[in-house]
Symmetry: C2
Subunit: 249 residues, 2 copies
C-alpha cells in the first residue's frame, strides 16, 4: 500500500461536518465514496487532520489515505477532484511515508473567521460569513485578541463536557483586520491545536468586546478563571474556515 | 400614491432572473409579494431598472413602486428587507417624484464580472464567479478591453434576434484587474445602457483573447463588422453582477 496526503477545500454549507456519521452528508463520506470508485470498488478509509463542524468551510484541510500500488499523483489529484461533488475540490496530492498521520504528525493550523459587518448584509456572503450589524470598535478587539497569543489553558473557550483532558494549547498568531472594500472583518488564528468550538467561542467573545458589552480584559479573565460562563456566545459556523495546516519538517 | 425608489441586492443563483414569469421564482415576484403584505393585501407593481438574467447577481439594482399615503422610508426599508427572502436585501429606500421611472430616467449602469482563475476552483465561489482554469495574458485583455470604450454599435456583442432596434451604446469605463489574493479576475463596465447578453459576450470574447485564441484587435473587428459570429462564447451568468446605477441629476 502507498500512503497519500491530500489538501482539500470545501464549501461546508451543505455538509454535516467532516466526520462520517449515519444519515448525514459528510466530507469524509464523499471522499471515501470517490476513492472507492478509483480503487476498483474496494473500501478506502480517509483520515482528516481537522474534524470541522457542520457548516464550517475549508481551504486547506489535510487528509491521508492508502491505495494499493503506486500512482501518478497529479493524475490521482485530477481524478479525485473531478469525480468529487462540486462543493469539494482537491488542491494537491503527494505521496508520503507509510507512518505519516495527518492528525498526529506535529502541525500548526490556521483558522480564519469572516464577519460581514454590512448593513444590510451582503446576500452573496450569507453562507460564507457571519453577519454582525452592530457597532464594533476594531481597536478594542485588537487589544483583546493579542492577549490570546501564548500558551494557555483554554478551558474557558471550549464547549463543556469535551473528552479531551489537556486543554493547554499554544496560539502563535491572533489578529483581526478590517477589509473595508468587502465590508468584512477577518479574524486569523494560528496554533498547535484548537479545542472543540474554541475558535468560534473566541470570536463570539471578541465581538462582544468590540461591541462594548464586555471589557477588553475579559479574555485574560476567562483564561485565568477557566470558566465558559464568562465567555461570549459561540459564533455561527458559517464564518469559520480551516485555512491552512503546516506540518513540522 | 407616493412613489418610492429602492436599491436592492440579491444572490441571483436561485432566481430565474429579475422579471416576473410564470412557474419560476423571480426577484420581481418576491418583492411584489412582500410589498403586497405591507400594503394590506393590495397588489403593488415593482419596476426594475435592469432585467438581470437567470443566475445574475446584483449589488445595486434599482426598483420603484407606488404605495398609498406616506411612510417613513427607513421603516419601510427595514420592513421590506426583513420580510424579503434571505437572498434579497433592501439597501436603501427613498421617496421620489411621481414621474420618476427607474428604467427610463437617464442613468449609467456599472456591471462587474468575476472570473475565478484558481486551479482548482474555489468551491466557495462556484455560484459567484465563473471558473476559467486556462492560461490568461492580462495585458492582452487590457489592450482589447480599452477599445470597447466609446460610442459604438454593439450588434456584434448582443444575442441575435433581440427586439431593440438601436444598438448604439456608450461605454465610459471598461477595465480588467487581477485580485491575486482572491485569485479573481475582475471586469468592470460602465455605460449608458447594455444590450441583451452584451456584457457576457464581451467577457467571453476577452477571455478568448487573453487565452490567445483570438487576436487583440478582434474587438474592433466585431464592432466594425457587427457580426456576432466573430465574438467569443457567452460567459456564464454566475460571474455577472449589476453593481451600481447612477441617475443623472
Amino acid at each position: 500500500m502507498t500512503r497519500y496526503k491530500a489538501i482539500i477545500s470545501y464549501d461546508g454549507y451543505d455538509f454535516s461536518g467532516f466526520q462520517r456519521q449515519p444519515h448525514a452528508r459528510t466530507v469524509q463520506e464523499e471522499l471515501e465514496r470517490t476513492l472507492q470508485r478509483l480503487n476498483s470498488g474496494q473500501e478506502v478509509v480517509v483520515h482528516g487532520a481537522g474534524r470541522t463542524d457542520s457548516g464550517v468551510h475549508a481551504y486547506g484541510q489535510v487528509v491521508h489515505f492508502d491505495l494499493p500500488g503506486s500512482r501518478d499523483v497529479e493524475k490521482l489529484r485530477f481524478a479525485l477532484d473531478t469525480q468529487s461533488p462540486e462543493d469539494i475540490d482537491v488542491v494537491a496530492v503527494e505521496q508520503v511515508a507509510d507512518d505519516f498521520h495527518c492528525r498526529y504528525a506535529k502541525h500548526q493550523k490556521t483558522y480564519e473567521f469572516l464577519v460581514d459587518i454590512g448593513r444590510p448584509k451582503n446576500p452573496m456572503m450569507r453562507r460564507y460569513a457571519t453577519h454582525f450589524p452592530y457597532d464594533l470598535e476594531l481597536e478594542q478587539m485588537q487589544k483583546a485578541i493579542s492577549t490570546l497569543v501564548g500558551t494557555h489553558d483554554f478551558t474557558g473557550f471550549t464547549a463543556s463536557g469535551t473528552a479531551v483532558e489537556d486543554k493547554v494549547r499554544t496560539i502563535t498568531e491572533a489578529r483581526v483586520e478590517l477589509d473595508g472594500k468587502r465590508n468584512l472583518l477577518i479574524f486569523t488564528f494560528t496554533g498547535n491545536g484548537f479545542l472543540y468550538k474554541q475558535v468560534r467561542n473566541m470570536v463570539g467573545t471578541l465581538l462582544k468586546i468590540g461591541n462594548n458589552r464586555m471589557p477588553v480584559d475579559q479574555v485574560e479573565r476567562i483564561l485565568q478563571e477557566k470558566n465558559r460562563q464568562l465567555a461570549g456566545p459561540t459564533a455561527a459556523p458559517n464564518g469559520l474556515y480551516l485555512k491552512e495546516i503546516r506540518y513540522d519538517e
